[in-house]
């Protein structure tokens, strides 16, 4: 049994693409070895990556495939041999099987006599297979953006391939990728090791060999080194903590081969700038971690993850350099902040005419006017239903919501749109509610985000997004497949989440209606939002797909009610009685459909005669009012439990009663009865959607 090592040496891979490519390479190598029966039972595949390499170590690889014997059956003996002489059919079969005609045998089966051939295949060596097939797998890796580098453009890849290692234990596998023959020489850290090859003598020594060349090839190890170093360095500041930022940790893990951390400082005077701006500069522009004091307030320090091991002198130089860059950026931000204050938000509304929202729709000035209409209508609705909020503050927020797009600070830090507007509104004393609503308008940006805390922010967020969706639909910009250039799905997800997690007394219909009044796009928008509700219930709330289908089939307008019904249904689904009743409901639906196809009319359920039919009618009539009461109270779990109590009567009914009785009156009565049961009790969910094992 051997170990197989493969390392692909590249120029620096974009950090955001490494994790996916590493996993895919591991998958492809595992699949190849498995497909070719080269991975022994208990064999393992481990992957590695750094900015300059992707690597795989497979332990438990067979040196060669086992030899195989296969029995092939050909044409019937009579066709293949005439007077013991092989016919053309026999020759063709022998050729196909790769054996001599003389090697064909007679095979007797229950169906008669046939020609058979035993095909022996010698197993190929692992080296042979890997040489032939691995390069294709590697070049098929998915990259979000590719490039050409060699003349004649023979291949595209994320960055130029510079070296390749392929070793079975200590033997080089003579494969070639992008014109580079595999060998055993890797490269170490650019600076710490220099441009000197790093020989790997044994496949299993890979990590150790590279460690000696200042490269930690394990992503998990680098992550741990970085987290520990962040902790250790932060401890040098009394009471300080570094701000946890998992995406940033992942980014720096993929930007380093030999990580270390330094603490840098900046002047306290910059703490006068809003924390959001400081953190954005540090995180997004410089990839620094922010540091906070014991009270969670930003402290005048930062942590930079280096791709080197610096001595004290080097660390001082590096710290100095990073501090200078950061201070220059902070100064820029302060310059923009001060500059922006010269033109207050309220004086910027007019200049929104020069900022395009969408070429075929209009400017952000137009967008603001549209948002105002929608927001006013929504405000009227929720006010009528007793929701308390500050309407004037809301309208001011809607009017000014987009004005920060004209500020220098947002032009510099586009990711802070909305937030900057909110901060400016506060600095310009436009009222806390208005400022907060503007600040929160883009929440939730993702399904992990919180929704706006204030009602004004929620309404602004709803109005803005539904206006975007309906106007884009109106212009024919519906998302298709994976294409959603205007991020309308994200906008719709946010609408669902706001309705789900706020107390706003609004249904999806209310929201669409206020934006798409009388519009052709109402129906399309409703279907679109319903899809997103379906997505939300399944992906965010984790309900089973059949529960979601059942609940939405009974109504998809009131988001919070749909969630409550899904909760009740998910709970009830565990009961055996309930599952049996839902199976019966599915049966009822089928019978009714058949009856309709055959032209059988519904009659009068009062005419049912069989005791079991009368029993079901009475039981259903008894349960119905209580069910309605519980449903009215949104006590869905108990309402559904009540339906489950119908199981014995439903079961006996179907056991004993012939529903489609030849007698027209009885048949009509039975059909009417089951129709009543179905429609009376399908208001929480359409149980026929429930999948029973």
């Amino acid at each position: 049994m051997s170990d197989f090592l493969f390392e692909l040496g590249l120029e620096e891979i974009p950090a955001r693409m490494i994790a996916g490519a590493e996993a895919e390479l591991g998958r492809r190598v595992t699949d190849l070895l498995t497909r070719e029966h080269l991975l022994a039972a208990g064999g393992t595949v481990t992957t590695f990556s750094t900015p300059r390499r992707l690597a795989v170590l497979a332990e438990g690889v067979l040196a060669r495939q086992a030899d195989t014997e296969e029995q092939l059956t050909g044409p019937s003996w009579k066709v293949a041999f005439k007077d013991d002489a092989p016919t053309a059919a026999a020759q063709a079969f022998a050729k196909k099987a790769g054996v001599d005609v003389s090697a064909l045998q007679k095979v007797t089966t229950p169906k008669g006599e046939y020609v058979g051939a035993t095909v022996k295949r010698a197993g190929r060596s692992a080296s042979e297979i890997l040489t032939a097939d691995l390069p294709k797998e590697v070049l098929a890796l998915y990259w979000a953006k590719n490039m050409y580098w060699r003349a004649g453009k023979p291949e595209r890849f994320v960055r130029p391939v510079r070296w390749v290692i392929a070793l079975l234990d200590s033997e080089v596998v003579p494969l070639e990728i992008a014109g580079i023959a595999a060998g055993r020489e890797s490269r170490g850290h650019r600076i710490l090791h220099g441009d000197v090859p790093v020989p790997v003598f044994q496949a299993c020594d890979y990590s150790k060999s590279l460690l000696g060349a200042a490269v930690v090839v394990s992503v998990a190890d680098r992550r741990q080194i970085i987290r520990k170093a962040l902790d250790a360095v932060t401890r040098t500041v009394a009471g300080a903590r570094w701000r946890e930022d998992e995406p940033l940790v992942e980014t720096v893990v993929h930007l380093t081969e030999w990580p270390s951390v330094i603490l840098g400082n900046f002047d306290r005077e910059f703490l006068a700038l809003p924390e959001e701006v400081l953190v954005t500069v540090m995180r997004d522009h410089q990839k620094y971690f922010a540091v906070e004091d014991a009270h969670g307030k930003l402290a005048p320090h930062f942590l930079a993850v280096l791709n080197t091991r610096a001595d004290e002198e080097g660390a001082a130089i590096i710290r100095h350099g990073n501090q200078k860059v950061l201070v220059a950026r902070f100064k820029d931000a302060r310059f923009f902040w001060d500059f922006d204050q010269k033109t207050p938000l309220k004086d910027r509304v007019e200049s929104l005419k020069h900022v395009t929202f969408q070429k075929e729709l209009g400017s952000y000035h137009w967008k603001t006017e549209q948002n105002l209409h929608v927001a006013q209508a929504l405000a009227g609705l929720v006010k009528a239903k007793g929701t308390k909020f500050d309407e004037a503050a809301l309208l001011k927020a809607v009017e000014l919501a987009k004005t920060d797009l004209t500020t220098e600070l947002v032009k510099e830090f586009t990711e802070l749109q909305g937030i900057i507007g909110g901060l400016y509104a506060r600095a310009q004393h436009l009222g806390e509610r208005t400022a907060l609503a503007i600040y929160e308008q883009y929440l939730p940006a993702s399904m992990e985000d919180n929704i706006p805390v204030c009602v004004e922010g929620q309404l602004l967020g709803l109005a803005d997004r539904i206006q975007t969706i309906t106007s884009m639909f109106w212009k024919g910009f519906q998302p298709t497949g994976s294409k959603d250039p205007f991020a309308l799905r994200r906008a719709a997800n946010a609408i669902i989440k706001i309705l789900a997690e706020s107390d706003l007394p609004l249904t999806l219909g209310d929201v669409i209606n206020e934006s798409a009044q009388g519009d052709l796009v109402y129906g399309e928008t409703a279907i679109f939002l319903r899809e997103r509700l379906n997505f939300y219930l399944k992906e965010v709330r984790g309900f089973a797909y059949d529960v979601v289908n059942a609940v939405l089939a009974a109504g998809a307008d009131d988001v919070r009610d749909a969630i409550a019904r899904a909760e009740g249904l998910a709970a009830a689904r565990g009961s055996e009685d309930f599952v049996a009743v839902s199976a019966a409901f599915k049966r009822i639906k089928n019978i009714l459909r058949q009856a309709e196809e055959k032209g059988f009319a519904l009659g009068n359920s009062g005419h049912a005669k069989a005791a079991e039919a009368v029993g079901l009618r009475d039981a259903a009539a008894k349960v119905a009012p209580e069910f309605e009461k519980l449903r009215g109270q949104r006590n869905y779990a108990e309402a559904l439990a009540l339906i489950a109590t119908l199981r014995p009567t439903v079961d006996t009914f179907f056991d004993k009663v012939m529903v489609l009785d030849p007698d027209e009156t009885l048949r009509g009565a039975h059909l009417a009865l089951i129709h009543e049961v179905l429609s009376n009790f399908s208001t929480i969910a359409d149980f026929s959607e429930i999948v029973t094992a």
């Binding site: 120029e11 490039m147 050409y148 510079r162 610096a310 002198e313 220059a328």
Partner: protein, 298 residues
């Protein structure tokens, strides 16, 4: 840096004497990268970005900065190592610094040009844009080339450890040691051009210039097409057609666009259309130039 690259066989060119926004736009890059012929060239290129002007008040931003632009066509396999050596040659001891190649792809839509590559970060400072050119003038490149663009003011400020670009020592009196700084040389220019670009530049006249340069370039492109597609025209006739002059006219338009933009005279809706007009000129020249080169080599 110049001697470093000259020793490695690069042509040392002088800055191009027409206003450009970046070293890429000089014909030594834009036109030389087209076609199959290998070329290695380096030059310092003053690059004008009217909207970046800050009246000389911002220590990190300039209306006109200097790029050292290097084209290696085709790129040698050790191009990254050569690049690191060039930093060492400038006196940067990499063992005492933190260096990262971070993904940064480059494009110039008006030039139909793009590539993939990195921004090179030295102690958190972006000192170089390193790009593998894939397309230029709307044409696929084969071979591709490596483009290294060094930000000279930043590198100088880094090497001299000064907080403001204007404090960079440009020269020193050999006897007294008195410095002449970047500010001494360039501050007035930054101030006055910011004033002109933002306040004085006459918008209607800028449009007139734009239209006039565009008309001349378009007319030349039409004639170029006639000559280059004429089967009876001799290689010599094709070779002498003034496409290099046509390209200068396109560059003039590009600079005027930047001025108009700084003046706030271009709305977002107009923007796409005007970039398209410049693109037509640049791409038109690139295509004609490639055809001319092919004809000339026959």
């Amino acid at each position: 840096m110049q001697s470093f690259w000259a020793e490695r066989g690069c042509v040392l060119q002088q800055p191009y004497d027409v206003e450009v926004g970046a070293g890429t736009m000089a014909p030594e890059t834009f036109l030389r990268v087209l076609g199959p012929r290998p070329y290695k060239v380096g030059y310092a290129q003053p690059s004008r970005r009217p909207a970046d002007g800050r009246y000389g008040e911002n220590p990190n931003r300039l209306f006109k900065h200097t790029q050292f632009q290097l084209i290696l066509k085709p790129p040698p396999v050790n191009v990254q190592e050569l690049y690191l050596e060039s930093l060492e040659a400038m006196g940067i001891d990499l063992r005492q610094h933190d260096l990262k190649f971070e993904e940064d792809n480059w494009e110039w839509p008006a030039g139909g040009a793009w590539g993939v590559g990195w921004q090179v970060m030295l102690d958190g400072l972006e000192i170089t844009q390193f790009t593998y050119f894939q397309q230029c003038g709307g044409l696929d490149l084969d071979p591709i080339c490596a483009e290294l663009t060094y930000g000279m003011e930043r590198i100088a400020a880094f090497l001299q450890d000064v907080d403001s670009i204007y404090d960079i020592v440009w020269a020193r009196d050999p006897e007294t040691g008195a410095p002449i700084t970047y500010g001494d040389v360039r501050l007035a220019e930054e101030l006055q051009f910011s004033v002109y670009n933002f306040e004085y530049a006459d918008v209607p006249r800028l449009w007139e210039h734009f239209n006039s340069f565009e008309a001349e370039a378009k007319s030349l492109l039409e004639q170029a097409s006639a000559v280059l597609n004429d089967e009876k025209a001799s290689p010599a006739e094709k070779r002498r057609f003034p496409l290099l002059a046509t390209y200068e006219l396109a560059l003039k338009c590009s600079n005027l666009f930047n001025l108009l933009d700084a003046r706030g005279a271009i709305s977002v809706t107009e923007r796409v259309g005007i970039i398209g007009r410049i693109r037509n000129l640049a791409v038109g020249v690139a295509k004609a130039y490639a055809a001319q080169q092919a004809a000339a080599s026959q």
